[in-house]
Every structure is written in structure tokens, then in C-alpha cells.
């Protein structure tokens, strides 16, 4: 199941407004971009925001938490 969330650990400086998407079976960056942006062509924004955990835009793994800028 797809999931999005923010992180907030209570402290004033700890708030994180980033939206996350947990990868589920059948997800591709294209599909995720379509879902959040309405346009799959914008998948590169998600890829670039997650370069620390993604090497290849075609290789995402179930359970990975992707930042959705």
C-alpha cells in the first residue's frame, strides 16, 4: 500500500515538511510522478531528490521511502 507522511519529532527545529512515498509492488518513478504531479514526465524530480538512495530511475525497490519534492 502506498503511503505518504511527514516527520515531526516535536522539537521546534525538528519539523520536516517533506512528503514521502513508500514504494509498493508495481510502482515506477513514472507512475509515482503521475500520481503526485499529474505528469509522469516529471519523474526526474523524484529521482534527483532521492539520488542518495537511487542510482537508476528504473530500479526502485518495494519498501523504499522516496522523498516527493
Amino acid at each position: 500500500m502506498a503511503n505518504d507522511e511527514t516527520k515531526e519529532s516535536g522539537g521546534s527545529g525538528q519539523y520536516d515538511a517533506t512528503q514521502y512515498h513508500e514504494v509498493v509492488k508495481g510502482d515506477t518513478l513514472w507512475k509515482i510522478a503521475e500520481r503526485y504531479y499529474g505528469d509522469g514526465n516529471l519523474y526526474t524530480n523524484i529521482f534527483e531528490a532521492n539520488r542518495d538512495i537511487l542510482n537508476n530511475p528504473d530500479a526502485i525497490k518495494v519498501g523504499q521511502k522516496l522523498r516527493i519534492p
Partner: protein, 206 residues
């Protein structure tokens, strides 16, 4: 005749005593009114920004005390001026508490708002390049978000300036308005809002 003279002497004596009593209150009353005035003037600028209603009440009371002093009601002026000095101290304490509360709110807001505005800006920038907006976001709504974002950024700058100038009450009020706008924009964009229950993920594109 003799009786009348005695009465007159007594009346004169009583009158003199009363006058003496009144004049003996004049000096202390004058000092007390001055002290109250100094106590209020010394704090009204700083404290007035935090608890304006209470400072206004002090000033009104001071004006009434001065009026009594002017009418020669020294005893009443003395008593009220002394009470007023005590009230001024209470107002200072109330202002300190208010400042502490406002500082706490400001710390919280200034920790959240830049990140909220940044998240909205980032999404707006990306969606502006989109050929088709995501489900549940109409063109009109997206235009509203962009307008709200511009206003929020402008207000946030004002809030920061207000804080730098020491107008913390004004800064917190402006920052609260910025947060309302940012929350509205985040909700419209489907972004998770701080403190709110987790937002549902957007529906898969069809």
C-alpha cells in the same frame, strides 16, 4: 455673644487642623504620584507592546490620580498612587509571562514555516511544469495556491522584520497568518500538514 465667639474659635481651630492635615498629605502624595508616573513611563513602551490593554488601564488610572491631586484630594491621591505603583509591577510581571509565551510560539513557528513554505514552493515549481495537474487539484485551486504562497512569503518577511524590531506580538500574529495560508496551500496540494492526521496518498492516476 460669648457663646458665638467660642463657636467661631472652635470652627477656626478645626478648619486650621483640617487644612494642616491636608497639606501634610500633599508632599507624600506628590512623591507617590511622581513615583507611579515614573514606574509607568519607564515601562510603557516595552510593556505596552505586549500587554497594551493593561498599560492603557494604568495610564487611565494615573490620569484619575493626577486629577484628584489637582483637586487637592491628597489623601486619596496618595493611596491610589501607591496602589498604582504596585499594579505597575504586576503589569510588568504579566508582560514577562506574555513575552515568554510569545517567544515559545515564535520559536515553534519559525522552525516550521520556512520548511512549509519551501515545500509548497517546491511543489508549485514542479506542478507549474506539469502538462496535467494531479487528481483533486483544479487549475483554479492551483492559481489560488500560487497567490496564497506569494502572500505568505511576503507576510513571512514582515513577521521576521517585526521580530527583529522587537515587536514580538505583531510578529507572532503575522506568522500565525502565514501558517494558515501555508496550511491551506499544503492541503490543496495534497501535502501532509504539520500536526494534522496523516494525509491520504493521492489516488493513482487513471
Amino acid at each position: 455673644m460669648k457663646k458665638n465667639l467660642v463657636c467661631l474659635v472652635i470652627a477656626l481651630f478645626v478648619g486650621t487642623m483640617m487644612l494642616a492635615a491636608c497639606s501634610s498629605d500633599k508632599g507624600p502624595a506628590e512623591v507617590a504620584v511622581k513615583a507611579a508616573e515614573e514606574a509607568i513611563n519607564g515601562v510603557k513602551t516595552e510593556v505596552g507592546k505586549l500587554v497594551p490593554d493593561q498599560v492603557k488601564s494604568l495610564e487611565d488610572t494615573l490620569a484619575a490620580v493626577k486629577e484628584k491631586f489637582g483637586k487637592g484630594e491628597y489623601k486619596a491621591a496618595l493611596a491610589e498612587a501607591q496602589t498604582l505603583t504596585g499594579k505597575a509591577k504586576e503589569v510588568i510581571e504579566a508582560a514577562k509571562a506574555k513575552k515568554e509565551e510569545l517567544n515559545k510560539t515564535w520559536t515553534e513557528l519559525s522552525g516550521q514555516l520556512p520548511k512549509m513554505v519551501e515545500a509548497v514552493q517546491s511543489r508549485v515549481d514542479i506542478l507549474s511544469k506539469s502538462k496535467k495537474l494531479p487528481a483533486n487539484l483544479t487549475t483554479e485551486k492551483f492559481e489560488e495556491v500560487k497567490t496564497g504562497l506569494a502572500a505568505a512569503k511576503e507576510e513571512w518577511t514582515k513577521a521576521l522584520d517585526g521580530f527583529k524590531e522587537g515587536n514580538i506580538g505583531e510578529a507572532v500574529a503575522t506568522a500565525t497568518s502565514v501558517k494558515e495560508k501555508a496550511v491551506m496551500a499544503m492541503e490543496a496540494l495534497g501535502l501532509p500538514v504539520p500536526g494534522a492526521p496523516e494525509a491520504p496518498a493521492p489516488a493513482p492516476a487513471k
